[in-house]
């Protein structure tokens, strides 16, 4: 790819955290307007009885794409955009730990958004953002052609983006803080981001696992059908409910916490006093994050599950509201009797808190099983979550945009216009959503209603509010767009802020800090006299010397390859042909080859604060963090196995899965783990022959494992040798689904490991410094052993139990 325009080159190839932050922020705003336009059309449809603006099918598709885009492509990415730009600055770092991975995250996010928008042209997902089974599965009349598949491709890219981003932020925050900057010194925004990315790391693999089930269900109906099978009563739909909400409910807090972090930055600055109870706010966020993983069942109160679980989830749901009380009270105490400078950012922050209180309290109503029975699926719920998502989330993040705009651009925005934007947004928001609390008899996904329902006045009012709210957002674009060129110079610290980003010029230089700041025990910052670090990443932006070696064209190519591959995989109905997959595979391989071959060295600074992970390198820490997400991913697949195993009517008897073959394959993988660790030992000892032989051995064993697996797959499918029972598909469809998906996903992991060995072997042969190569072999080994561990559990679960 040859790009000559310096400006285009910068935005396409930059890996600098500030550039990537700007890309995230601007892209999320574009998606905000796309998804907002869909919402306005839905409001137009519902403005009066017998609406004729949209057909039912289109309305359903708009509801789905609006929800998915707003939650996943607007709210979190807007926060991640700000986090990209400001977290390294607030930590006293020069960039994120893995700059190229950061760029890759962005491009996965963007192409994922393209796929989501494209899905509309393939028939569109029409099930609501929850993609509930069995509606989302192909056997159902509601199932649309490939629309849901393409949407799933977009979601898979997004999960990839989020997983890479989470790893990057976790490693950065733990390993790259300025000397002396302890965790306790961090302000609220980096704290909120740290907890958010941990939640992302643990929650999103569940969505990925769910999407794989959904895709296999739609592509191989009747064969790999977890979600649309006629077996097992309501088990399949409950399975999706569990997997989706296991991700979906933590997602609410994933969206909310960065907003709380932004409010926690704005309030101290504009009240000129420390955040009241900052330590307790942080602890509350941690507690809420933990509890948020055990509340998902409250979305299933009326699905016929046992009273024991509904009671448990009622308790946890009420419990999760308590930490938010602490946060709200702390914010109010910070504001109480303070001399507040009423600038736009703080107005947005205060507005956000007020709306959060309303959204939060109405959420507690829904924790009650009795109330939930009546309120669920009505506009009361729509009002509740929009008060949280838009009221608390978007408004706070917009406050953050105004707050940090001077730092990002070096120019002030127009204060009067910003205040008008706030006033219009706040008032119209309440005109839009408060009437919905009163529409407690109106189902949330109807696309028309009749006059005798009495819903017309409140709907009309909501539509007026929606129109004003929607169009008032143009003030934000007009204000920031104009100020970008004509705003008054901001200077380095227009708000007299206390955090580290205000200590550098506006906009910050490419390398962030001329001298890495040093923080003393009591939190005092020393900005000069530290060590000078000439190395920066990214392409020059006119503020500093360009370091073109730290730009990379490969992240966008890799992401494009993944996008084209997934489109090929999902565009048609049923399994794709080779031709559909080839372009994506080719582009992806070219990208990965370039990515791997490119020299892109990020030096690890010794003088950083990295407790409690001082003794581990960034890369190794990153690989381990990835494996933590893999634990959840396979955990969810095993949960699906367990769910159908316990609840299905029929399961193959002991011996149906050939124990001898399972035993052989287990020993093959265990031996491959031994050879992998011997490769590491050989590299450390400087033995090239040892490394090559061990890696070749690992490759051969991995390939032999896959060969055996393929034979076994075929045998089970045909069933000739399994008399008197016969094919697994004919006799045990749920067991077949579970077996093929679980071992199939594991097999893909083995295949990826073989590809890694194919990459490592030539390097081991050529490398002058084998000890240096040992690090790469170690990273590979961590992955390979993990894949081995997964099989260690699959063997007894399928063959012995």
């Amino acid at each position: 790819m040859r790009v000559t325009s310096p400006s285009l080159k910068r935005w396409l190839f930059s890996t600098n955290h500030k550039d990537v932050g700007v890309l995230y922020t601007v892209t999320s705003l574009v998606f905000f307007f796309v998804a907002g336009a869909l919402a306005l059309l839905m409001r137009a449809q519902l403005a009066a009885p017998f609406g004729r603006v949209l057909s039912g099918e289109v309305f359903n598709t708009y509801v789905t794409i609006h929800g998915l885009l707003m939650i996943l492509w607007v709210l979190s990415p807007l926060a991640i955009g700000l986090a990209n730009y400001f977290t390294p600055l607030q930590l006293g770092a020069r960039d994120l730990a893995f700059p190229r991975l950061n760029a890759l995250s962005y491009w996965f996010y963007l192409f994922g958004g393209f796929a989501m928008v494209l899905s509309f042209f393939f028939g569109g997902p029409n099930t609501g953002w929850t993609l509930y089974a069995p509606q989302s599965a192909c056997n159902d009349p509601l199932c649309s052609p490939p629309g849901i598949n393409v949407a799933a491709a977009g979601l898979i890219l997004l999960v990839g983006s989020i997983t890479m981003g989470s790893i990057n932020f976790i490693v950065t925050i733990f390993k790259m803080r300025a000397p002396g900057l302890k965790l306790k010194h961090m302000s609220m925004f980096p704290w909120a981001i740290l907890i958010t990315v941990f939640m992302m790391l643990y929650a999103f693999p569940s969505l990925l696992a769910g999407l794989i089930l959904l895709y296999s269900d739609r592509s191989f109906p009747g064969r790999l059908a977890y979600l649309s099978t006629a077996q097992g009563g309501n088990v399949p739909s409950l399975l999706w409910d569990n997997i989706f909400w296991f991700f979906g409910h933590p997602e609410v807090y994933i969206v909310l916490f960065p907003a709380i972090g932004v409010v926690g930055e704005i309030l101290p600055t504009f009240t000129r006093r420390p955040l009241y109870g900052a330590k307790y706010i942080t602890m509350s966020i941690v507690v809420a994050a933990v509890i948020s993983f055990i509340v998902w069942g409250h979305h299933m109160f009326i699905t016929g599950v046992s009273p024991l679980t509904t009671t448990l989830f009622t308790v946890t749901t009420i419990a999760v509201s308590l930490p938010f009380d602490v946060m709200t009270v702390s914010f109010m105490e910070t504001l109480f009797r303070a001399k507040i400078r009423l600038k736009a950012p703080v107005l947005f922050a205060i507005g956000s808190i007020a709306l959060f209180v309303i959204g939060g309290i109405t959420g507690v109503f829904l924790a009650s099983i009795a109330l939930d029975h009546n309120l669920r699926g009505t506009y009361f719920v729509v009002a509740h979550f929009h008060y949280i998502m838009v009221g608390a989330g978007i408004l706070a993040l917009m406050g953050g945009l105004y707050y940090w705009f001077p730092k990002m651009t070096g120019r002030m925005y127009n204060e009067r216009l910003a205040k008008l934007h706030f006033a219009l947004s706040f008032i119209s928001f309440n005109v839009l959503y408060f009437p919905m609390f009163l529409l407690i008899e109106m189902p949330r996904r109807v696309f028309f209603y009749t006059p005798d329902t009495g819903w017309a006045p409140l709907n009309g009012l909501a539509t007026i509010g929606g129109l004003v709210f929607g169009f008032s957002q143009l003030l934000l674009v007009a204000n920031l767009g104009r100020s970008l060129r004509k705003g008054a110079p901001a200077g380095p610290n227009p708000w007299d802020g206390w955090t580290l980003e205000w200590a550098v010029p506006s906009p910050p230089p490419l390398h962030d800090f001329d001298h890495i700041p040093v923080i003393t025990e009591d939190g005092v910052v020393h900005l000069s006299g530290g060590e000078s670090h000439p190395v920066a990443s990214g392409i020059g932006d006119g503020h500093s010397i360009p370091h073109s070696s730290h730009s990379s064209r490969w992240p966008i190519v890799v992401a494009l390859g993944a996008f084209v591959f997934l489109l090929g995989l999902t565009m048609g109905s049923g399994p794709p042909g080779i031709l559909q997959l080839t372009p994506g595979v080719v582009i992806g391989l070219v990208g990965l080859y370039g990515y791997g071959k490119e020299s892109f060295i990020v030096h690890e600074d010794e003088k950083v604060e990295s407790w409690p992970f001082k003794a581990i390198s960034r890369m190794r820490f990153g690989v381990w963090t990835f494996l933590a997400s893999e634990i959840i991913f396979f955990g969810v697949l095993l949960s699906a196995y367990l769910f159908v195993r316990i609840n299905s009517f029929a399961w193959p008897p002991l011996g149906y899965f050939d124990i001898g073959k399972g035993f052989l394959n287990t020993n093959i993988l265990l031996t491959s783990s031994l050879t992998a660790v011997l490769a590491l030992a050989s590299a450390k000892a400087g033995s090239r022959n040892g490394v090559v032989a061990s890696l070749l051995g690992t490759f051969a064993l991995g390939a032999y494992f896959l060969y055996n697996k393929a034979l076994e797959w075929e045998e089970l499918a045909i069933g000739e040798h399994l008399a008197p029972i016969g094919s697994i598909f004919d006799n045990f469809p749920l067991a077949a689904t579970s077996y093929y998906i679980t071992t199939g996903v594991h097999g893909v992991h083995v295949f990826a490991g073989l590809a890694m060995i194919a990459y490592l072997l030539p390097r081991a042969l050529k490398s002058a410094d084998l000890r240096h190569q040992s690090q790469t072999i170690l990273y590979f080994g961590l992955y390979w052993h993990f894949v081995d561990i997964v099989w260690i559990f699959l063997f007894p679960l399928f063959y012995l139990i």
Binding site: P307, A615, W624, I632, D788, I792
Partner: protein, 90 residues
């Protein structure tokens, strides 16, 4: 870590795998005890691989916590299979 340790760990892993297969042929053990034992043995093998082959025992302790949190969360989801539809089986 010496190569001898790796071979010793490998030997244990293969031995325990053989024991797993042998266990299902033993008469007189209840199905639930067999299942629990097999899961326990798989956990033991996984722990060995993580501790010695992945060198987790030499890594900072908080790293183990990071992985343990993932494990606990995954188990929370698995537990729902027992609680949600068959609460009386407990």
């Amino acid at each position: 870590m010496s190569v001898k340790v790796y071979f010793a760990v490998f030997g244990i892993l293969v031995g325990v795998t053989a024991a797993e297969v042998a266990l299902i042929g033993v008469q007189g053990i209840s199905r639930s005890l067999t299942t629990t034992t097999l899961i326990g043995l798989a956990g033991f093998k996984a722990l060995l691989v993580a501790a010695f082959f992945q060198h987790l025992k030499d890594e900072p302790r908080p790293l183990s916590a990071l992985l343990l949190v993932g494990l606990v969360i995954a188990i929370a989801l698995m537990s729902i299979s027992f609680l949600q539809l068959h609460p009386l089986d407990l």
